[in-house]
Amino acid sequence: MKAPRFSYVRAESLEQVFELLKQYGEDARILAGGQSLIPTLNMRLSQPAILIDINRLDMLKGISAGDGAVRIGALARHAEVAESPVIAARLPLIAAAMPHVAHVAVRNRGTFGGSVALADPAAEMPACVLALGGTLVVAGARGRREIAAEDFFRGLYETAREPDEILVEVRVPTEAPGTVSVFLELAQRHGDFAIAGLACHARIEGDTVADARLVYFASEDRPRLAKGAMAALAGKAWNDGTRAAVIGALTDDLDPMTNLDGGAAMKLHLQRVLTGRALDAAVAQARAA
């Protein structure tokens, strides 16, 4: 478990990153927290020619509240996000999800941008960004692009980011007053990647779910917005009938993959269970507010 030889550059500017990415393309890897990348190098699962260390690039750091949105720098560590008062006040979904991301040691190094850029299908942050309708900002020598989360996650570890681009920040709309967020996941051990999970953001008026975004993760090749279930929910009172309709709609929305945790049928079952629990919790939260 020793990494093969590679070159290493500690980037001093974004321009240098762009230049190196242009030069090396797929042979380069950006090194953020290294919590996912370094194990794959040591296991010789990937053999990049060069690592571009972005850890000194201050412009990629920090969390700030702007006009109706929160900017999370790609280099914001999981631990910073977890402790951020801005996140706690404006993005409760992310605050609720963060304790599920790995363990303290990993959160101290791992970055928000790394997690989103890697697009692990069982990762929490991609699901949250999608549920909240966030925007991913990527940049390269060819310029800067803003990509809606809906268009960003393309498949297993596959995103709309081009090999010559770097993810610089994520912008997530502040959760509006009158909305609620529920984050649920099932993992056999605390800190493991989930075996099923749901990020739910909803506007609930009285007993009626005005609209809701349901993003399922850990069961498919990417975080999945369950459009059928969302349609079955929109404008409905949360009752047994709605519950059945929403859970029923998941059959078409989801196409779970069998993995070592269990078969597709189990994954679908668990996502259904989480759906009921999440909406029960959302309605209860709205009532309490």
């Binding site: 478990m1 020793k2 990494a3 093969p4 030889r5 296991m43 010789r44 099932l186 056999q188 051990r189 605390h190 800190g191 493991d192 990647f193 075996i195 070592l260 945790d261 269990g262 078969g263 049928a265 189990m266 079952h269 668990l270 269970v273």
Partner: protein, 795 residues
């Protein structure tokens, strides 16, 4: 032999026996001064890495090492065939005590045929491990993949694939225990219950992986191996014989060992290969198994399917038990301890606490193209206990009795021992009833049942589990290894010396893997001798320093090594008192040793300190009469005589919650009451039980080596192979019933595996207790969420 006075000293309230002392090695580990094998640095050390078979079964058509040899830093590339030439003869992992057992001859690395995914095939030795790994990627092997034996259920099917042409039926071993009238008992029984259980493969996952540093001195022709081992003398014998070096020229040093759990009592081909490389190169060679190769080369264990039946009278008396075990071994029987112990132990101990007279237990062990299996903590017991205790729970339910009450009526009562159980094993000094009583108190059982009932009405599904067990510890010489032909000592020994300063050196054959063996040996010696712990240094894990012994496995260190230490210390004490008697002109019997000072027995008036005895005995011998020849050293050995093991017993309780919608299990509380005889160090004994429980809980809930149809291991990383972690573990309350064994003077039985042996059983029973309202039952381990949901019919 201990005298009555010696035994009284064991019981003294302020004695070292029964006292909580921290492990000496823990202090050094937390100071950052642990010395594990990888911390041992030798100048000019080279590093080995291995090319391993990517296939479960494949013929090696051609190996081209030319490119690898040209890589920077590469010193040696050796194929399996080249290594075989350096070995005296292949290993055959059989023991003569297992009648009819077969195993194919095995070389340390694959020669023509690779038979498991992960088998070492080519070794590369380079200046650094990274360079060795780089070169491994350039070794070209042309393979002819062959259909593997991937499942134990089909391994015996005629015409199917075979692991080794030499063993055409894939059958390793069959054994039956039969009391004779089992069929009759089942035919006459009022109630018969039957169930089939499936147990997945696990592996030990020690924190420190297997590790070895070998150095061959061509001048003196001495081979020194530092290795993370539980049994240095066995490693000495096997490596010496395999590599053709005289045994007495081989020194094995086991420095700090970071966990072992049975993993480190075996011989592994990659370690022999690295040692052969050191001999070939004339340079020290280090091999530290990384986590990925550990998963495909460390022994695996536990893969068994067991069909069980239990016959009852309508009053709820167990009439007979019948089990049929299909045990899935790997590609070879692991040398030199074999891969059939797991099955053998299942037969020995299943339903062992109970009073039935009729018992039939059959085992069939088959080879598969998987990692070889062998002994891992509590060998066979997690399976035998899970099966036996699940059947007992089903039986209690069938006759409408509380599972505790049912057990109370069916266990062999304490006063009936010694007796021979249905499996044909003589047991003594057992305390089932006392353990049940103590457990009930600690669990507050009736209150727990009441709480369970209340919560059930609220839709919260909690389960209470009970599992009694017997555990074979400290094996005797008539059982398996020595008598079966393996170079493994069933005795153990201690040499103890009084130094001129009055300090005491205590050299023991048993070894310390982090459980505190050194400290416990020190406590025993200090008590027997009458000195302080501070004046004793225990030396273990070095074949150049310690008397020949078996090492630490099968919960034998304290039970066997401890007794040897006790007797050696008593012998040294006797000599000291004789010398003191000469010097003081007193009868030795009127003297005693307290706190390192010879005193008048009874009044404890100080007479002469041991430092004086040491000084005179070594330097001023002229002060002694000519016919007094002080040795100030004693060696004693201890072994069992006719007994198979020193058996222990105990009972676990578990409380947990099952989420019937998700299949998730939350452990709430765990209790263990066990009888390890005299407890030397309660804190360390408790920690052994707790740590053991956690391993058992891991096996019950998480751990599983998952193979696909092509016999490829699917989850060989710590991300995918889930070991238990602190967050999910319950509080584990431990209590001891102390019923000293009559087999030794010290009275200690083994304790290291009592947690592991029954924890899976009690959790399975508790899960099924929680699922009772759903009429669902989980019969496989690990009990994953999917397994629970399947049992509930939800997926």
């Amino acid at each position: 032999m201990a005298t009555k006075e010696d035994l009284i000293r064991l019981e003294r309230p302020n004695s070292y026996i029964g006292r909580n002392l921290t492990r000496s090695r823990a202090r050094r580990a937390v100071a950052g001064r642990g010395q594990y094998t990888d911390d041992v640095l030798m100048p000019r050390t080279a590093h080995a890495a291995f090319v391993r078979s990517p296939y479960a079964k494949a013929r090696i058509m051609r190996i081209d090492t030319a490119a690898a040899k040209e890589q920077p830093g590469v010193l040696l590339v050796m194929t399996g065939a080249e290594l075989a030439e350096r070995c005296t003869e292949p290993w055959v992992g059989t023991l003569t005590c297992f009648d009819g057992m077969k195993s194919a001859p095995q070389y340390p690395m694959a020669v023509d045929l690779a038979v498991w995914h992960g088998e070492p095939v080519v070794m590369v030795v380079a200046e650094t491990r990274a360079e060795a790994e780089d070169a491994c990627e350039l070794v070209e092997i042309e393979w002819e993949p062959l259909p593997p034996v991937a499942e134990k259920e089909t391994a015996l099917r005629p015409g199917g694939p075979v692991v080794h042409p030499a063993i055409a039926d894939n059958l390793a071993f069959r054994k039956t225990i039969d009391t004779g009238k089992v069929d009759e008992a089942f035919a006459n029984a009022d109630i018969v219950i039957e169930e089939t259980f499936e147990f997945g493969r696990h592996t030990a996952v020690s924190l420190e992986p297997r590790a070895l540093l070998a150095d061959y001195d061509k001048g003196t022709q001495r081979l020194t191996i530092w290795t993370s081992s539980q049994c240095p003398h066995m490693i000495q014998a096997v490596f010496a014989r395999t590599l053709g070096v005289p045994e007495h020229n081989v020194r094995i040093v086991a420095p700090d060992v970071g966990g072992s759990f049975g993993l480190k009592i075996h011989t592994f081909g990659d370690e022999v290969a690295a040692t052969a490389a050191a001999m070939a190169l004339g340079r020290p060679v280090k091999f530290i198994a990384d986590r990925l190769e550990s998963f495909v080369s460390d022994i695996h264990a536990r893969e068994n399917r067991v069909k069980g039946r239990i016959a009852l009278s309508k009053e709820g008396v167990i009439q007979a038990v019948d089990i049929d075990v299909l045990s899935g071994a790997g590609a070879y029987s692991q040398y030199p301890r074999t891969s059939v112990f797991e099955a053998n132990q299942i037969l020995n101990i299943t339903a062992g606490p109970y009073n039935h007279k009729e018992y039939r237990a059959r085992a069939t062990v088959v080879y598969m193209n998987k990692v070889p299996t062998s002994q891992y903590r509590a060998v066979g017991h997690p399976i035998g206990n899970s099966v036996g205790e699940a059947l007992v729970d089903l039986a209690a339910e069938a006759v409408g009795q509380d599972p505790v009450e049912f057990r109370r009526r069916n266990v062999i009562p304490d006063e009936a021992f010694p007796t021979t159980i249905a499996a044909g094993i003589k047991l003594q000094d057992m305390s089932h009833t006392a353990c049940i009583d103590e457990l009930m108190k600690r669990m507050d059982y009736d209150a727990l049942r009441a709480e369970q009932a209340v919560l059930r009405r609220q839709g919260i599904h909690r389960g209470i589990g009970i599992a009694a067990f017997i555990k074979g510890t400290a094996p005797g010489p008539s059982g398996y290894y020595g008598i079966g032909g393996a170079p493994i000592a069933s005795q153990d020994a201690c040499t103890i010396k009084l130094e001129p300063s009055g300090g005491v050196l205590c050299m023991v054959g048993v070894t310390d893997q982090g459980q505190g063996v050194d400290t416990v040996m020190g406590q025993i010696a200090a008590n027997a001798l009458g000195v302080s712990m501070e004046s004793i240094r225990v030396i273990s894990g070095d074949t150049d320093a310690v008397p020949y012994g078996g090492g630490t496995y099968a919960s034998r260190a304290t039970a066997i090594g401890g007794e040897a230490t006790y007797q050696a210390a008593l012998a040294l004490r006797a000599e000291i008192l004789v010398l003191a008697g000469v010097l003081l002109q007193a009868e030795p019997a009127t003297l005693d040793i307290v706190d390192g000072i010879v005193v008048d027995a009874g009044t404890e008036t100080p007479r002469i300190p041991l430092s004086e005895i040491g000084r005179i005995g070594h330097f001023q011998v002229a002060e002694l009469p000519n016919d007094v020849k002080p040795v100030l050293s004693a060696t004693r050995r201890f072994r069992l005589t006719d007994d198979l093991y020193i058996f222990t017993n105990g009972i676990h309780g578990a409380y947990l919650e099952v989420d019937p919608d998700t299949g998730f299990i939350k452990l709430l509380k765990h209790w263990v009451v066990e009888d390890c005889g005299r407890v030397i160090n309660p804190m360390l004994a408790d920690e052994q039980v707790r740590g053991g429980c956690v391993q058992g809980l891991g096996g019950a809930l998480y751990e599983h080596c998952i193979y696909d149809d092509a016999a490829q291991l699917q989850n060989g990383t710590l991300a995918d192979y889930r070991v238990p972690m602190a967050f999910e573990m319950p509080d584990i309350e431990v209590a001891h019933v102390q019923n000293p064994t009559t087999i030794s003077d010290l009275g200690a039985k083994g304790v290291g595996e009592s947690g592991t042996g029954a924890a899976p059983a009690v959790v399975m029973n508790a899960v099924n207790d929680a699922l009772r309202p759903f009429k669902a039952r989980v019969t496989c381990q690990p009990m994953t969420p999917e397994a629970v949901l399947r049992a509930l019919g939800k997926v």
